[in-house]
Assembly symmetry: C2
Homo-oligomer: 321 residues x 2
């Protein structure tokens, strides 16, 4: 079973699904955002985890979509908060329509995610539902903590990891857990799956931080250097600030209010390189991926059943997009 | 069983419930808004409907609270969209904190409402969940249609009733339905309860429109004349515009960009009174309440069991607050 087959089935379901029709200001933005694309990593994880244990993975498509719709709901609201003009190269909903449409259409997306989750056919539905609620609240907590970081002087590495765990990783963890729960696996197994997803998720976000600085502009999905331009407190920036004196060149670049963006990216990248930040970040990232790989190795299922998940984890580790 | 006992039990549960703690920007606004008060009509309806059939109404407290938390979530987001500075005489969340906090804290409130709903002990939980989803989406649809009305020249009475049905009444309908479903009543009964709630809800909103113009400022919870000042398309305004020539005094008041608010309220109220709008609005309102009362009369439960619901409907009909 290859990843492509999961993705094709997901895309088919997404194309067929109707979120609603009237009033169109409420429903068109949902279809618009969902059709902007994305790698569909999270629902693919749900299907892969389910397929570790059971063959009828198509029965998990609707709850898998719930995760993708939930993820896109967070994007619609985050884009308002971040005042982001573009998402995947296209105008964000609050720009193409307006703020109020983005708030309300996002709210309906969250309801739609719950409605897709309700299609789960497992007998342990209430447990799934409670765990989804906890995860959803944690994702919001992560977003709030991330916004709080912007107002703060220093942020420790530990605080940063906690934030990305909440904002990004718990949803990847829950995606694998959900697949296991839909396949009605015991608590020990679903918790193990969750931990794999969380570790891969933290590694995934650290990779994102690295690619922002060192990625290939032709391949990376976002603007390379975007985090540097915005003084975003990424793992690399926090580590570099920690290693620099308060009167260092790095601190001066961070404090500058007007600058040439290209020049700043080039200068900060050079400082990072001098400090050996890339290697440190790659070590940290690799450590989380290794925990994820170990977790997959220890999964008590026949090796051929976990080949796709293993390949998928490798693909996340190696990605340059 | 009196209404007060339900309300006291609800208040106790609301005081005890923890939505979460950290980060505080996410959770403090929830407690703040929930503690601003409100009549708790919706959760009271859940308990009353449950108690029509079963005595252990306390078992319905958590799902009843879900409705109240959901209602307050819509208030938090609506207040952003309406740019309302005050809610129940206190600063709204987006004013006291900021826009982003009001968006994200509202999102977590919606998740919290689902989490309370998950405490429902009924065997037909998935059906309850799906019906809640439908209702939640409809409330959002109503809010969007209401915002669309602001951009439009004319709105028909029928369109207006559809809008208030979605924005306000379906949640009152679902509150009664939920009580019936928690008590595991058949579809015919829960649909009958829903219709009672929807009719009472439309009557309730028309009463609100009337009180805005003719209410006692000492008793009415909002600013009397507020809708007139803002040219809000209420039932009374739509009907009066429909009955007036395009060059009438009413149209001139509506078109005026600068005016003395008190003078406008007084003048528009006088026009409404001349046109007999108050009586027409009361007739329309009464017709919906009568449908609700009839529905209660036809409920196939002993008359003493429905005394509280009947008294509550009378109280909504007679209210001047």
């Amino acid at each position: 079973m290859s990843l492509d087959k999961y993705l094709a089935a997901l895309q088919h379901e997404l194309n067929e699904y109707s979120y609603g029709n009237e009033p169109k200001e409420l429903y068109e933005p949902i279809t618009y955002l969902m059709n902007l694309g994305g790698k569909r990593l999270r629902p693919a994880l749900v299907l892969m985890a389910y397929h570790l244990f059971k063959d009828d993975w198509q029965s998990a498509l609707k709850p898998a979509m719930a995760i993708e719709v939930f993820h896109n709901f967070t994007l619609m609201h985050d884009d308002i908060m971040d005042e982001a003009p573009l998402r995947r190269g296209q105008p964000t909903v609050h720009i193409k329509w307006n703020r109020d449409v983005a708030i309300l259409s996002g709210d309906v997306m969250l309801v739609a995610a719950y409605d897709l989750l309700a299609e789960a056919e497992a007998g342990n539905f209430k447990k799934i539902f409670k765990r989804f609620n906890r995860t959803a609240a944690e994702v919001c907590e992560g977003q709030q903590i991330d916004m709080n970081f912007e107002e703060r002087g220093s942020v420790s590495e530990e605080e940063y990891i906690t934030m990305i765990k909440l904002k990004t990783s718990v949803l990847l963890g829950f995606s694998l857990e959900l697949g296991g729960r839909l396949a009605e696996q015991p608590e020990g197994v679903v918790n193990h799956l969750y931990d794999i997803g969380v570790n891969l998720g933290i590694g995934f976000q650290l990779k994102d931080d690295i690619l922002d600085v060192y990625g290939d502009p032709e391949k990376f999905g976002k603007q390379v250097g975007g985090d540097i331009i915005e003084n975003k407190k990424t793992w690399l920036m926090l580590k570099a600030l920690e290693m620099s004196e308060p009167d260092s060149e790095l601190h001066r670049w961070v404090a500058k209010e007007s600058f040439d963006p290209e020049e700043k990216v080039k200068a900060v990248r050079a400082i990072f390189t001098d400090l050996g930040i890339k290697e440190l970040a790659e070590q940290a990232m690799t450590a989380y991926f290794v925990k994820g790989f170990d977790g997959i190795a220890k999964l008590n299922v026949p090796v051929e059943r976990k080949a796709t998940l293993k390949a998928f984890a490798d693909y996340l580790f190696d990605r340059d997009w």
